[in-house]
Amino acid sequence: MKRLTVLAVLVFLILFCTQIGFAQTSKEIKALKEDVRSIKEGQTTIQKDLQEIKKLLASRPAQPAEFKEAIINIQGAPTKGDKTAKLVLMEFSDYQ
């Protein structure tokens, strides 16, 4: 009879403990799911923001339209590239 009681207690304990275990794991999973959801939400927000930034950048004109053709004298200017090339890129820059 004693043996039986001990056995019963053991079985009870085992069942109880595993149930706590289950309960804990499912709690953790729930928390993890919650985390994943909020991360996903955050990502969607970031993506939306990025799209908006991209749109803004694209709509910003790279240069004003009022440029008038001009003849630029390049005598004495340091140069690179093939001397027979017809198209020229002139860069006006300073060192500061």
């Binding site: 440029f67 001009a70 200017a77 820059s93």
Partner: protein
């Protein structure tokens, strides 16, 4: 510039010119431009040009001397050149050339066609600011298609 250089200058599709445009409120920029020209007198323009850009925050006369020493120019000659201010007129001329095309800030790039005299360029497009490579690529490709 490096990618433009690789794709278009090194391949012979376009030619590149550097023009000085030291801004008035950049107090040390003018002397730096002169320093590059003085190194150029000894065949070291691009070396000095790159060196000054590398150490852009340090442009005092001592810094420019250090840069010149680093690229290996003859120092007495370099110093004499810098002190003489002999390139001041050339730099002022560059500024005036830029102003003809409406350049007000740096960097500003102009694309154009070389005139038959080889001394002048008919600028047809302006790119203001340090725009990404794709902006230059688009402009260059567009112009290369119009004329050959």
């Amino acid at each position: 510039m490096s990618q433009i250089e690789k794709e278009y200058v090194d391949t012979g599709k376009i030619r590149y010119f550097f023009l000085d445009f030291p801004l008035k409120f950049h107090a040390q920029a003018f002397k730096a431009a002169e320093a590059a020209e003085c190194a150029g007198e000894q065949g070291k323009f691009w070396e000095m040009h790159n060196k000054i850009f590398e150490n852009q925050r340090a442009l005092s006369p001592e810094d420019l001397s250090k840069d010149a020493e680093a690229v290996g120019v003859d120092m007495p000659k370099f110093k004499a050149c810098l002190d003489s201010g002999k390139y001041a007129e050339k730099i002022k001329k560059d500024i005036a050339e830029g102003q003809k095309a409406g350049v007000t800030g740096t960097p500003t790039s102009l694309l154009g066609w070389i005139e038959p005299d080889g001394k002048n360029i008919k600028a047809v497009k302006i790119i203001i600011g340090a725009q990404p490579y794709t902006v230059f690529k688009e402009a260059i490709e567009g112009l290369l298609k119009t004329k050959k």
